[in-house]
């Protein structure tokens, strides 16, 4: 019936307009500064026709009549309507929508206007992504959203990036839940150019995601077309060069030889280099290993829409070579994407989108003992570039890094499809049902080839039988949502939004690993299991399979009174197959409230305050992620391999120990915040204080007594709910934007997060330990009540012994490995028991920053635009662990300042080949890795319209930028920003693959 009515209206309207006198109207559209606006949609209201303005802001529209209303819409500006009347020429000035308070924000199973938001939500807009021009999407969150900490796990192309929202609460998995257009996805494989906006839910508002929301929720909205817009093509491209942003100063060959002579002499041994005169500077392996590498990226998007259909189609291609090993650590990402929206009828809207991603990646050995950079830092500079350590001078792990790169062969390929189908049904204006299926199918294959190679006797990388390892991994998931939203206002005062529904999530997949021996010709060209000929008795293949499911029901009620007083409450019931049937179900409630003071009479006339809102939230969220898929039962997947009759035999044994009582982690989140806009919205301030108590931490591999057999091969400790942590802090962000005259506008934004992190309880064990320091030393990182998660546990130092008298006056350090001599590190007797031993270890730092902040500057002058993004991280410590403790390896240049006699140094100990306690894990090896980094500086120029008119282009912008321009830090290593992301064991530097400095030149084209 309704369809019929609308058909009639259209028909009659058409007839009516044909009967009346029609004419053409032309005009011009400008902004507040009288600058012509290009691409403004000009529509005849109620009809499916219109046009867009050209580069001079001019438009011409035919067949209009006096009764028609022209509608001018443009992103970022308020929509304006003009009755045609007698006018033949219409000039329009559009007003900037500085009230981006009306901005619609995705909050999970719905959207909300920004002014009505009562939770702590950060937004990263398409614009910010454009300005930052990140290679991976995660990089767009660093320094742009308060409370979000982003740390690269490596500077290698395509390497993973860790995100923590408001600190680290769990001992294991701390990454947020990522939802792409509503379904569970992965930030790491997305093309940043496909993203329209990112919402980050940081507080109890995320409780609508219940069991999955404790680590925060990142909601990604991909680009869609807009209704009634003519087809627009956008092409973006850049090319660039990358280089290492820092070299570690090392000893040259002569300095090295002299130092070695000294260390041998100090132990009464013959000096190894009696004549150093011919050595010169020797080889600089670091310089040889770190190279300049290219990067380029292309993006093409077509978008537009009619009255009924919107579309956005895009493709991209990125190639990035590594600054170590060039194409041996490269990354290629190609994506293709479409997004379609179809208004089937007045009641039904269908949308479908899909993203295809193809990733190729190669990698080199990094961030470990014997990794390429580790070797480059430790190999002796007296070695020729092609020389192997045939005399075993450098220990078993250090080999020539250049031959190591040469003999590294691997490849990884990922093919992934993800997307969603969504059907909206609006039976009446106030009610909407959404049925949405999101899916992700990904297949990856990996291969690595170990050729027969010898780097010298005893080297751990030697391999006397060639081997190729291959794997195929298949991961799938779907997320099905069905929910209804009722949104209505009663008596113009009571606004109610009620949402209820359910979600089903299933993740399943399998993996297959196999190894082939004896690769023909010992060559990568033939490295495939299909060509290998060798056999052996071992099990050369393995496989796994998983299937985890979640079933959830949720409801949310939002109410506001006259848009002034806002409250909401939500409840989610989750069931997860990670737990035994008895412990499967949990309920997660939360509530939020807000008060918009600026709507009250006493503030409504304020010249100073444009907007003021107080808000608070409290709720309970959950987390069931700890890596493992099931905790409550033991599988027979332990290792049971022995030798009978001289051949390997395989049996069955218990895998990881079961804990039938395991349940989820509970996060109790409290947030109080304020949003203020001052000076006619020019100054925008948001501040939050928050606290999260994470209880019943699911601690995987928590130490339990050895009597349960967890130490057996292939077994392991159970997962037990056994700890509590607290994160509390402050977030603050402020933005000032203004115009100066017609040609200049600018904005400055600053945000800061101050965080205090503490473990408040660990049950069943005093502490958990993790990480590695040097070789064969106790694990340096701990998770212990009363300390930050993953703090470093070692000795405190008190300078260097200068004289024998000082040594004699100090407690014995023998328990650390040797009696002290002058020139050795003096350790503090923490417990004052007159002896230095393992009981004197204490907290000597932690890798979690106390404060992080971002500063973003935007300037536009005429056709020029300039942006700068600066990020700072304060109070994070790093363990310098790239120095091999071995008599003949090279050393950092700071050893030139070592102790050589009384008064020479109170920081760097003497060198000797004899036994000392100087290598024990102490604060000598822990450095303050606070840093401030100029992340991105970009200067762009948009060609003027007069020029473009001849080319048929709508917009042409060229720019140059530098990523990672400069880092201010006292840290001695390559990169203070990197971390493995492990909660326990992060912040330990084996010579991180540094994040490169990238010089880019790019172009943005619209036509």
């Amino acid at each position: 019936m309704m369809r019929f009515t609308s058909f009639l209206i259209v028909l009659l309207g058409g007839v009516f307009s044909m009967c009346s006198q029609s004419f053409s109207v032309e005009g011009n559209v400008v902004d507040e500064n009288n600058i012509p606006l290009l691409g403004v949609n000009v529509l005849v209201k109620g009809e499916a026709r219109g046009t867009t303005t050209d580069f001079d802001g001019n438009f011409l529209i035919d067949n209009v009549s006096a009764n028609d209303i022209l509608q001018f819409t443009y992103v970022g500006f308020l929509t304006k309507e003009v009755q045609v009347g007698n006018q033949r020429t219409i000039s329009v000035q559009l007003e900037t929508d500085s009230q981006s308070l009306d901005e619609v924000i995705v909050i999970g199973y719905g959207t909300q206007q920004r002014k009505d938001i009562t939770g702590a939500v950060s937004i990263v807009s398409e614009n910010t992504i454009k300005e930052l021009n990140p290679i991976k999407l995660e990089q767009a969150l660093q320094g742009t959203a308060a409370g979000v900490n982003v740390t690269p796990s490596s500077g290698a192309p395509g390497a993973g990036i860790n995100i923590n929202i408001r600190g680290i609460a769990s001992n294991s998995v701390n990454g947020p839940l990522v939802l792409i257009d509503g379904y569970q996805g992965d930030l790491g494989t997305l093309n940043p150019n496909d993203v329209a906006s990112i919402s980050i839910l940081k507080d109890a508002q995320a409780a609508i995601y219940g069991i999955a929301g404790a680590n925060g929720v990142v909601l990604i909205t991909t680009k869609t077309g807009k209704k009634n817009t003519s087809p627009q093509i956008q092409y973006d491209s850049y090319v660039g060069l990358q280089e290492a942003s820092r070299m570690i100063p090392l000893l040259n060959a002569t300095e090295y030889a002299l130092l070695l002579n000294e260390s041998y002499a100090n132990n009464g041994q013959d000096i190894p280099f009696p004549d150093v005169s011919e050595l010169g500077k020797g080889s600089d392996f670091q310089d040889e290993v770190l190279e300049t590498a290219p990067i380029y990226n292309h993006n093409l998007t077509l978008s537009g829409g009619s009255e009924k259909v919107t579309y956005s189609i895009g493709g991209s291609h990125l190639y990035q070579e590594g600054i170590i090993g060039s194409e041996k650590s490269d990354f290629t990402r190609s994506t293709a994407r479409f997004n379609l929206g179809i208004a089937i009828s007045d009641q039904f809207d269908l949308s479908a989108n899909s993203i295809y991603t193809n990733i190729d990646r190669r990698s080199i050995n990094e961030n470990g003992l014997g990794s390429v950079l580790f070797n480059a830092l430790n190999i002796a500079p007296t070695f020729a570039l092609d020389q192997e350590d045939l005399d075993g001078k450098l220990g078993n792990e250090i080999i020539n890094p250049l031959s190591q790169i040469e003999n590294t062969f691997n490849e990884y390929n990922l093919n992934k499809f993800n997307g969603s189908f969504s059907l909206d049904f609006k039976p009446i204006e106030a009610l909407k049902f959404t049925s949405r299926l999101g899916y992700s199918v990904s297949n990856s294959k990996g291969k690595d080839f170990a050729p027969i190679i010898s780097y010298g006797p005893g080297k751990v990388f030697n391999n006397d039988r060639s081997r190729v390892n291959q794997n195929r991994i298949n991961d799938n998931s779907y997320t099905y949502d069905l929910f209804g939203t009722y949104d209505n206002t009663f008596n113009e005062t009571h606004h109610v939004t009620a949402t209820a529904g359910m979600t089903v999530i299933k993740n399943w997949g399998d993996g297959l690993y196999a190894t082939g021996y004896d690769v023909p010709n010992n060559s990568w060209d033939f490295a495939d299991i299909s060509l290998t000929t060798g056999t052996n008795d071992g099990i050369n293949n393995s496989a796994y399979k998983y299937d985890t499911r979640k079933l959830s029901f949720f409801g949310r009620l939002q109410y506001d009174y006259k848009g002034k007083y806002l409250v909401s409450g939500m409840l989610r019931r989750d069931a997860s197959t990670r737990f035994s049937p008895d412990n499967r179900v949990g309920y997660f409630p939360s509530a939020t409230a807000g008060w918009i003071l600026s709507e009250e009479d006493f503030l409504s006339d304020s010249q100073l305050i444009s907007f003021l809102k107080l808000r608070a939230s409290f709720g309970i969220l959950g987390n069931d992620e700890t890596g493992g898929s099931q905790f409550y039962r033991s599988l027979l997947n332990g290792e049971a391999t022995y030798v009978f009759d001289g051949a390997l035999v395989n049996g069955k044994a218990l895998g990881s120990l079961a804990n039938p009582a395991a349940g989820w982690e509970e996060a109790e989140k409290t947030n109080i915040g304020v949003d203020i806009r001052l000076l006619k919205n020019k100054l925008d301030i948001t501040a939050d204080v928050f606290r999260e108590d994470r209880k019943d931490l699911l601690i995987a591999g928590i130490p339990v007594s050895g009597i349960f057999g967890g130490g057996a091969p292939g077994s392991g400790a159970p997962t037990i709910n056994a700890g509590t942590t607290r994160n509390e802090g402050l977030e603050f962000s402020v933005k000032y934007s203004d115009n100066k005259g017609d040609d200049f506008n600018y904005s400055i934004a600053y945000n800061a997060t101050i965080l205090n992190n503490e473990v408040t309880e660990v049950n069943g064990t005093e502490f958990l330990s993790g990480g590695q320091f040097a070789v064969g030393q106790p694990q340096p990182s701990r998770f212990q009540a009363g300390f930050p998660i993953g703090y470093f546990y070692g000795y405190k130092t008190d300078g260097v012994f200068q004289t024998p008298a000082e040594v004699a006056a100090h407690p014995s350090q023998l328990a650390l490995g040797a009696n002290a001599s002058p020139g050795d590190i003096r350790y503090v007797d923490i417990n004052n028991d007159g002896v230095i031993n393992t009981d004197d270890r204490t907290n000597i730092g932690d890798p979690i920053p106390t404060a992080t902040m971002g500063l973003n500057i935007n300037l536009n002058y005429k056709n020029f635009d300039f942006t700068a993004y600066i990020y700072a991280s304060l109070g994070n410590d790093m363990v310098r662990n790239y120095e091999r403790n071995q008599p003949n390896v090279n050393k950092s240049a700071y050893y030139l300042e070592r102790w050589t006699g009384p008064g020479t140094s109170n920081e760097v100990p003497r060198v000797t080949t004899g036994a000392t306690a100087n290598t024990a894990f102490s604060d000598f090896y822990v450095e303050d890795a606070s840093y401030a980094r100029i992340q991105n500086v970009q200067l762009g120029y948009s060609l003027p319209g007069t020029f473009l008119s001849k080319t048929g282009l709508d917009r042409l912008r060229i720019y140059a930028s530098v990523n990672n321009l400069y880092t201010f830090t006292k840290y001695k290593g390559f990169d203070p920003s990197a971390s493995t992301g492990e909660a326990i064991g992060g912040g330990i530097d084996y010579g991180f693959y540094p994040v490169p400095r990238i010089f880019l030149a790019g172009v943005n084209l619209n036509f």
Binding site: D547, S634, A640, F708, G709, T765, N885
Partner: protein, 487 residues
């Protein structure tokens, strides 16, 4: 209108289907059960056999008992790369170990894992019947006794739970048993094994009656039950198929599982291994650990230079003792003879444990961790010497004691002895040290005969007879288990 209606119905239908089918909790129970669960196993003979392989597997991780037992004794020094290289080894070498010691922790964890895996079988021993089950149970019980005896030697009495696995919480309720109770279980297990096993096993590497008898005799000897020890050793000697082999090849690959082997832990270099899971290696990790640092030359491969014999033990051999140069490698002599090169490690003595040095072979990587040398856990010479000791110290029959002793001496190219009484005891002790040097027995022999303090520097009587129970275990037990005296 009609279209709308049908669409609306579809939505409603979809809604109700989801509610009925998807939303019921059944959805969560339908996850694929592709894996065997620990509690639904033991349904066939094969299941028992496969689980038994799991128990055998743990034997390979006892490499650390051997390596560390030797370092603890006066035979060897810790070695390694530097003073901090494997601190747990370094501390035990100088008897300065504390309850915090990762390597002692390994011994505790891994041997208990063996017991747990054995008890997994014994817990389900009645579930499925088949011919020959008692043989599998007999092997299981031998292995349980083997691991239990190791733990008893290192840590003293341990908690026992009978034929059942320990479950979370038991550490707080089951106390350490008495020494007598632990020995009683060992003796019962081995007696069962003896009466259900043959002298020849169905596969090389599996437990035999002789192995069970020898281990039982050893357990008696440790308790100074000399009569019972002598009886059971005599049975091995008279009824078993064992004889002394050629010492020249005894510790070479060709000497593995030969006529002298009573019980031998099997290793292979066919499967790779890494440092993150040493107990997962199918190779003998101790061998790579005590290899010559950065060695190039004939016959041997390089290693990490731990567990280096002292000059004192090398010189304890007489010049003409065949065993000296076959047991201990004088690296300088070897280097000048063959042109081999090597690097000196920490506490370099110039000697290496030749019995268990890595031989050149084609084991897969990490080659330092996958050396295939079998550990001769109980060999006939050991049985003869234990028999001689029991006969002599129990005042049973010095003549027979001498006979057994002289068999061992004769092979070593030494003259027979004629002493008796205490003099004979001393000779047996000395012979035992020299015959078994590098095999991990010395420390425990010194302790059980009360001679540790006089031979081991730093040894404190009343304390160092036992190693400390790992501190974390004491903490897990929340006071249920008492620490050993002195720690």
């Amino acid at each position: 209108m009609k279209i709308l209606n049908s669409n609306f119905k579809h939505i409603l239908l979809l809604f109700s289907v989801m509610i009925l089918a998807g939303c019921s909790e059944d959805y969560l129970d339908k996850t694929e059960e592709y894996s065997i669960d620990s509690e639904n196993y033991f349904n066939s003979e094969e299941d028992y056999y496969n689980a038994l392989i799991g128990v055998y597997d743990i034997l390979q991780s006892t490499y650390v008992n051997v390596l560390l037992g030797e370092i603890a004794s006066d035979n060897t020094l810790s070695g390694g790369e530097s003073a901090n290289d494997v601190i747990g080894f370094q501390q035990i070498d100088v008897m300065q170990h504390t309850p915090v010691n990762d390597n002692l922790d390994d011994i505790w964890d891994w041997n208990f894992a063996g017991i747990q895996r054995a008890n997994y079988i014994l817990e389900f021993q009645d579930k499925t019947d088949f011919d020959g089950k008692e043989k599998i149970l007999a092997e299981t019980r031998f292995l349980r006794a083997y691991f239990t005896f190791e733990l008893l030697k290192w840590f003293g009495p341990i908690p026992l739970k009978g034929d059942e696995r320990f479950r979370l919480g038991d550490e707080k309720t089951i106390p350490r048993a008495s020494k007598e109770e632990v020995y009683a279980q060992i003796e019962a297990d081995l007696t069962y094994a003896i009466s259900n096993l043959e002298y020849t096993a169905p596969q090389v590497g599996r437990v035999t009656k002789g192995a069970a008898q020898a281990l039982l005799g050893k357990a008696y000897l440790y308790q100074e039950k000399f009569d019972q020890a002598a009886t059971v050793f005599t049975s091995v000697i008279n009824d078993g198929p064992y004889q002394l082999s050629d010492f020249n090849i005894l510790f070479e690959q060709v000497g593995e599982n030969n006529e002298e082997s009573v019980f031998e832990v099997q290793y292979t270099g066919e499967e790779g291994a890494g440092f993150d899971c040493l107990q997962c290696s199918e190779g003998n990790v101790a061998v790579g650990f005590q290899g010559i640092r950065n060695y190039t030359g004939p016959k041997f491969e390089s290693g990490f230079s731990f567990n280096v014999p002292t000059a004192e033990v090398f010189n304890a051999f007489s010049e003409n003792d065949l065993r000296r140069d076959l047991s201990i490698l004088d690296i300088d002599a070897w280097a000048s003879e063959t042109g081999a090169t090597y690097a000196e490690g920490y506490k370099h003595t110039g000697y290496f444990n030749r019995k268990y040095l890595p031989r050149q072979n084609d084991n897969v990587g990490d080659a330092n961790l996958t050396q295939p040398n079998n550990y001769r856990a109980i060999r006939y010479a050991d049985v003869l010497l234990m028999a001689a000791e029991a006969l002599n110290r129990g005042n049973i029959d010095d003549a027979r004691a001498r006979t057994y002793l002289n068999l061992v001496r004769e092979r070593a190219n030494l003259d027979p002895v004629t002493e008796s009484g205490n003099n004979l005891t001393e000779i047996i002790y000395t012979e035992r040290r020299l015959e078994l040097v590098g095999e991990g027995h010395r420390f425990f022999d010194l302790v059980r005969t009360g001679r540790a303090a006089q031979n081991i520097t730093g040894f404190t009587t009343g304390k160092n007879e036992l190693f400390p129970i790992p501190l974390e275990e004491i903490e897990f037990s929340e006071g249920n288990w008492e620490q050993n005296p002195g720690y």
